[in-house]
């Protein structure tokens, strides 16, 4: 869309050898060069060089070659006399004929005519230049990326003549007319442009001067000269004669004869066709299959078959009906038993009732009769069987049964009872535990052994029995080391103390059994406490070494020299309940047994005696070996008494107690006291003097109690054969209640080191359990029965009365009513 204002303006020749006239100034330096220096070989060489430079482009664009170059060079010299005027005119007309040639442009074109006079354009040169410049894309200069050009469209430009703007750009803002310089300015400008070899045209639409590129100039020149606008276009290409008209034989094997089979029908195809025909005849395929409408004949046949079958017309409605039906699930009525031989028209003889049986039958209630109302009868043939008289009635009753009797589906759980039993580890994996009786502790005729206790090191055991004698045994050899007759001691003391009270003497006459005994758990306190009759007796064992003997003596010194019923405040409750009596003066009668076992043992034998109001049932030490608790169940409020041995003092912790206290025992770590009545266990905090917990055992008569060494678990045995395990952290109800003994439980206990628990019962057996208590609070204790130890005969319906574990080994001592003490060990 180049609009020219002063187009083909002569450009100044940059060449030093250029001619002086302005009019002869050429557009093209080369053209001018060739024009001015005619036949100059040097010039031609330079032109050829320039062409050589442009060879790359030539080869791309057209079919120019060296010949063409030579030709063009030849043409240069030939066409020197080419009239440049015509070219300009053509250019002018062309410009004038352009569709957007407006009035104003005419002026400009005239100007251009003036300036363009005398110019000579060599088309061949132009062509060469065009070829040279072909690198440039022929892109239009219409492109207006900035959008600052005038966008008024195809309207006459003179409409804007009266305005100071010429239109609007892409952004809608006015495009202001550029100031039209005067002629002088234009001339000066043209001069400058000519110097710079610039050709400028005036763009009327945008009202600005546009500098023409070389390519555009070339195009213009070519058009002016009447050549094709594009220099690349070869108007007269060389003729290539493709069809020579001479027949030629060529190609590979083209002169061979083709095989005959090429021209004959294929045998294989024939075979295939025959097969298909055969299948068509057989009916295994049909034309639809051949035409590809049916892919698989099997499916086709199936469809055919299905379509032949009758189908449910109302299919689907039925299901709806089933789904819609409400009410209980259908339950089939119970079937009637099939008819047996008795219902036969000709039953065997044995089914026919005799007369007596018939009479009996008559007497029976109709419901109890064997076949209801039917009486078996014999007929010769089926024909002679008459109608059954009760048929209607029986049918009616059956119908009544079916209608009126509600039928209920009984769900039967199909569970293997074995699977409900918890899976326990095998006992053999939980070794060691006591299994075998190995040592028996014998000393002639002793009555039932009621209680046992092991020394803290496990060297000795003490036993107390029905005969009131405390025996000290060596564990290893089973040798009886010492024995102390507490019955005699008691008799002596009470006789002297209570000379006047005759009725008390009467009651004391029969030998008092030793009900409870315990070795001091402190290793350096070598003494035992035993409950016998109304009293608790402190016995020094004399087993201590040099150091321990001193400690023990110091511990016992107060009790040994106690006077006036002990160091109890007179006004306290305990003063009435208990009286400490030193046994120093009564000790002489049994010299051999009062000598200590150890050479350094200090005193040995009964040291002091605590007399309570009622029979002592249980004595238990505190773990530190200074305090101990005695329980006299019948003593009411003074049932539980806590004593301090080192001070020979006692205290009565409870003012009143509900129920009959059976047992009491200290917590192994905390200042708690467990007090068991017949049915529950109460936990008291000794420092705060409050009840912490009340454990409901569910037993009727608690007979024994032991605390796990961790202090968090408690096991309780009862006379109603139950063993109850309490997890003190868990609840006040039992963690587990086990009922496996055949008779009343007499003793339960934990092993202080191994995860073992055992219970002794009146059936003479001792059950040993693996009782693993995990330190992980989330895991419940594992209780696995591992062994039943039998070794005690049941005498006077009493069996194993007591059991106690060895403190360091997985061994168990047990004693029973038959007077035997056994050591069971692991094997």
């Amino acid at each position: 869309m180049a609009r020219k204002s002063k187009i083909p303006e002569p450009t100044p020749d940059p060449e030093p050898a250029s001619s002086g006239s302005d009019s002869e100034q050429e557009y093209d330096s080369e053209a001018e060069g060739s024009e001015s220096n005619d036949g100059s070989s040097s010039e031609q060489d330079s032109v050829a060089d320039s062409f050589d430079d442009g060879e790359d482009f030539e080869s791309q664009g057209s079919s120019d070659d060296d010949e063409d170059v030579l030709k063009r060079q030849g043409d240069e010299s030939d066409d020197d006399s080419f009239d440049g005027e015509g070219g300009v005119q053509i250019l002018d007309t062309e410009v004038l004929d352009a569709p957007r040639q407006w009035k104003r442009d005419v002026l400009g074109s005239k100007k251009a005519d003036e300036t363009g006079d005398g110019e000579k354009v060599d088309p061949e040169k132009v062509k060469a230049v065009a070829a040279y410049m072909h690198t440039d894309d022929l892109s239009s200069d219409d492109e207006d990326p900035e959008g600052i050009n005038n966008r008024i469209g195809r309207i006459p430009l003179h409409w804007y003549d009266d305005y100071e703007h010429i239109g609007y750009d892409a952004h809608g803002s006015k495009v202001i007319k550029s100031a039209q310089g005067n002629m002088l300015d234009q001339i000066l400008q043209n001069e400058d442009d000519a110097d710079g070899k610039k050709y400028t045209v005036y763009d009327a639409l945008n009202a600005k001067n546009v500098q023409l590129t070389e390519r555009q100039i070339q195009l213009i020149r070519r058009l002016q000269s009447g050549a094709f606008a594009h220099p690349e276009h070869d108007a007269n290409p060389d003729y290539i004669d493709y069809y020579s008209g001479i027949p030629e034989i060529s190609g590979i094997n083209s002169n061979r004869y083709e095989k005959k089979s090429r021209f004959q029908p294929s045998a294989f195809e024939k075979l295939q066709v025959r097969r298909l025909l055969h299948r068509l005849k057989c009916g295994s395929i049909n034309m639809d299959f051949l035409e590809g409408k049916v892919r698989d004949m099997n499916d086709y046949k199936k469809c055919q078959e299905d379509s032949d079958k009758p189908f449910l017309l109302w299919k689907g409605d039925e299901e709806d009906e089933l789904a819609l039906r409400k009410g209980p699930q259908h339950i089939a009525p119970p079937k009637q038993p099939p008819p047996g031989h008795a219902l036969s028209y000709r039953p065997p003889e044995e089914y026919l009732p005799s007369r007596e049986e018939l009479e009996e039958w008559e007497k029976l209630d109709p419901e109890d009769r064997p076949y209801g109302n039917f009486v078996p009868k014999q007929f010769d043939n089926l024909r002679s069987v008459g109608a059954y008289e009760h048929a209607v009635k029986e049918r009616f009753e059956r119908c009544l049964d079916l209608y009126l009797c509600p039928r209920v589906m009984k769900r039967r759980l199909n569970i293997d009872p074995e699977s409900l039993v918890p899976r326990l580890p095998r006992a053999s994996d939980l070794r060691p535990f006591p299994t075998t009786k190995c040592i028996e502790y014998k000393d002639g005729e002793v009555g039932a052994v009621r209680c046992l206790s092991v020394s803290p090191e496990g060297q000795f055991i003490v036993s107390g029995g029905e005969d009131g004698i405390v025996r000290l045994w060596e564990v290893q050899t089973g040798r009886l080391v010492r024995k102390w007759n507490l019955g005699d001691v008691l008799t002596n003391v009470v006789e002297k103390e209570d000379e006047k009270s005759e009725e008390d003497n009467e009651t004391l006459k029969p030998k008092k059994p030793i009900t409870s005994i315990e070795w001091n758990p402190n290793r350096s306190h070598h003494c035992i406490i035993a409950g016998v009759g109304k009293c608790a007796v402190i016995i020094a064992t004399g087993t201590g070494g040099i150091d321990d003997a001193e400690v023990t003596d110091a511990l016992l010194s107060d009790a040994m020299s106690v006077k006036g019923g002990g160091n109890i405040a007179a006004e306290s409750r305990a003063a009435k309940a208990v009286k400490w009596i030193s046994l120093k003066k009564y000790n002489k009668q049994d010299a051999s047994n009062s000598s200590p076992i150890s050479a350094f043992g200090g005193s040995a034998g009964p040291i002091a005696l605590l007399q309570t109001n009622r029979d002592v049932a249980s004595v238990r030490w505190h773990r530190k070996g200074d305090y101990f608790v005695t329980v006299s169940p019948k003593a009411g409020a003074a049932a539980v008494l806590i004593h301090q041995l080192s001070k020979a003092a006692s205290q009565q912790p409870f003012g009143k107690t509900k129920g009959e206290v059976q047992l009491a025992c200290f917590h192994p770590m905390k200042p708690f006291l467990f007090v068991a009545s017949k049915e529950h266990v109460k936990v008291y905090h000794l420092v705060k003097q409050v009840m912490v917990k009340r454990l409901l055992s569910g037993c009727r008569h608690i007979s024994s109690l032991d605390v796990h060494c961790s202090g968090d678990h408690l096991v309780v045995g009862s006379l109603d054969r139950r063993l109850v395990w309490f997890d003190l952290d868990l609840a006040s109800t039992p963690y587990k209640t086990l009922k496996y003994h055949e008779r009343a439980l007499r003793s339960v206990g934990f092993h202080p080191r191994y995860p073992l628990m055992a219970s002794a019962a009146d059936d003479g057996s001792i059950h040993v359990f693996h009782s693993m208590v995990y330190s992980d609070l989330m895991r419940n204790p594992l209780i696995v029965p591992v062994k039943v130890l039998k070794g005690h005969a049941v005498t006077n319906s009493l069996g194993a009365l007591t059991m106690v574990f060895h403190p360091t080994q997985p061994w168990l001592f047990s004693a029973g009513a038959d007077g035997k003490i056994h050591l069971f060990q692991d094997l």
Binding site: I439, G458, Q459, E474, T477, G478, R479, T808, D826
Partner: protein, 550 residues
């Protein structure tokens, strides 16, 4: 062919070789084999014997030969017999025990007794026990000229043969292609009870034997000594001394000083440890057992074990263990030392019990009070077994109720090795020539430990010991175990079940079992080896003597 006893062997052993017999006689010894091995003199003797016998018993061999065809079908094993190394080739009566070691074939299921008969036969001895098993008068006449048989024991790859030969070979994994090498040696005879000592007032709880003197510690705290000669011990205790007020737990004795006096140490339940001097030479003194020294200050509990050992510089070092696991090392004061402070110690020991103080008054000069050299808590429970290491008084083996066995270095007083078992150890004894230890356990077992092995452990890797441990044979607590002082393979144990068993560690079953107590139900508690005798004491309050000869 199953050989139940020697009577079964005999007929086939001496088959008739009459020429009119076409049958190939059934023999234990393969004739062809012997022929092939060219044993002229043996064959000669063999044939003569056979000839002799066949004259007497024509009928009998006919019977045997009738069944001989069947018996030929039984497979046979080739064995070669050697006298076991270390056994004297001459018997006590001067006859040789050696036989040629060339291979012979024997039935595969032959047992110890059958092989014993073979060896006896090859030695030219009577193959029949002269215990009246033979009822045939003629035969007795003919064999009376032969020497009595010797019972032999056989070693198959250093284990005692207790199974039929083939099963034993298979168990050992030996090849039957080659001749199986068997070593034989005269079997150890069962201990024979040869009387008992006088009845004591209380249990005999510990025994020890040194240089012809047997010491017995009793539960009443009295130490008694017996003199033992070749004929065994005196029935009456020669000397006795009340050493303790409590039951004696342990007793050990050792030759002491340059003269023939012996030192006997006793530890007791009354927590005292004393040594007495037994003077062989003094016949003038009323009591030959004099209180030598009192050891105080080391233990705070019952003393359960004591061991003594001679040191290089003629001194004696003593170790004692108590119930609490405390281990104390003492230097036994020699007679040359401490004379000066005798008076002082007399006063200082005035706290002691009456029995000792009486002694003290009688011989005030000889009493010394020793203080512990070192003491440590070696175990967590009572030490029931102490012995010094083999040829090294610096190592001490201890065993305890806490299931462990430890080796202590006496000088540094630290534990070198700890071996944990699973059972309570009630007694321990060391082999005479090595640190192999036998322990008696509360689970009725006798266990063997090789303390030479770095990690301890039950004996298993040792080539010489048959099984990993000896099989359970006792039916109650093993109360004492003692190793034979003469034979490194033999040990003896007794138990609360009242039996005494003699074991050869090359076999897992005991060699012999005898009743060690006089009454049923009593417990055997202690054991001591003497010269050719074994002594056992228990709750029957007597010391039983058993002749235990090879």
């Amino acid at each position: 062919m199953r050989l139940k006893n020697l009577r079964d062997i005999k007929p086939s052993l001496f088959p008739p070789s009459k020429p009119n017999h076409n049958h190939r006689p059934s023999t234990i010894i393969d004739h062809e084999q012997i022929n092939r091995n060219s044993q002229p003199q043996l064959l000669h003797r063999f044939s003569t014997t056979i000839a002799d016998l066949s004259n007497h018993h024509p009928n009998k061999y006919k019977q045997t030969m009738d069944s001989s065809d069947e018996e030929n079908t039984t497979t046979k094993l080739r064995i070669s017999l050697h006298l076991a190394p270390g056994v004297k080739p001459q018997n006590s009566d001067g006859t040789t025990l050696e036989i040629p070691s060339d291979p012979i074939a024997v039935p595969c299921n032959i047992r110890k007794r059958g092989l014993s008969a073979v060896v006896n036969h090859l030695l030219g001895r009577n193959v029949v026990n002269d215990s009246g098993s033979n009822s045939d008068d003629n035969e007795e006449d003919s064999l009376s000229s032969l020497l009595p048989p010797i019972a032999f024991d056989f070693l198959l790859s250093s284990k005692l043969l207790r199974l039929p030969l083939e099963s034993a070979v298979r168990k050992e994994g030996l090849s039957t292609e080659k001749a199986i090498e068997l070593h034989y040696f005269p079997a150890r005879l069962p201990p024979i009870k040869e009387g008992e000592g006088e009845n004591f007032p209380d249990w005999v709880t510990s025994l020890d034997y040194t240089d012809g003197v047997l010491f017995a510690g009793c539960a009443d705290g009295v130490v008694r000594s017996f003199e033992c000669g070749d004929k065994g011990m005196n029935r009456k205790a020669v000397r006795s001394v009340g050493a303790h007020t409590g039951q004696i737990h342990c007793l050990t004795s050792i030759a002491f000083g340059n003269d023939d006096s012996l030192l006997v140490a006793t530890g007791s339940m009354d927590q005292t440890l004393v040594t007495h001097l037994y003077d062989n030479s003094t016949s003038s003194k009323s009591s030959g057992l004099d209180l030598h020294a009192v050891y105080s200050g080391g233990h705070g509990n019952s003393i359960t074990s004591v061991a003594m050992c001679n040191e290089a510089d003629n001194g004696v070092v003593m170790a004692s263990g108590d119930w609490d696991g405390g281990l104390v090392i003492w230097n036994v004061p020699t007679s040359s030392t401490n004379e000066t402070n005798a008076e002082e110690t007399e006063e200082s020991s005035s706290k002691r019990q009456k029995g000792s103080s009486k002694k003290k008054q009688a011989h005030p000069k000889s009493i010394r009070e020793a203080k512990p050299k070192t003491s440590t808590k070696a175990h967590s429970s009572n030490i029931f077994g102490l012995c010094f290491g083999y040829q090294s008084p610096t190592t001490l083996l201890t065993s305890s109720w806490d299931h462990s066995l430890k080796v202590y270095d006496v000088e540094r007083m630290d534990c070198i090795l700890t071996t944990n078992g699973s059972r309570v150890i009630t007694s321990m004894s060391r082999c005479m020539n090595g640190n192999i230890v036998a322990t008696g356990c509360a689970d009725n077992m006798v266990r063997l430990w090789d303390m030479r092995v770095g990690n301890g452990g039950n004996v298993g890797s040792m080539g010489q010991i048959a099984d990993k441990t000896l099989r359970q044979s006792h039916t109650a607590w093993v109360s004492d175990v003692q190793w034979s002082p003469t034979d490194p393979f033999v040990l003896s144990s007794n138990s609360h079940d009242g039996t005494l068993k003699v074991w050869d560690i090359r076999s897992s079953v005991p060699l012999h079992t005898v009743n060690a107590v006089s009454k049923k139900g009593e417990k055997a508690l202690c054991l001591a080896f003497g010269d050719g005798y074994v002594y056992s004491g228990g709750s029957d309050c007597v010391v039983n003597q058993f002749a235990c000869k090879v």
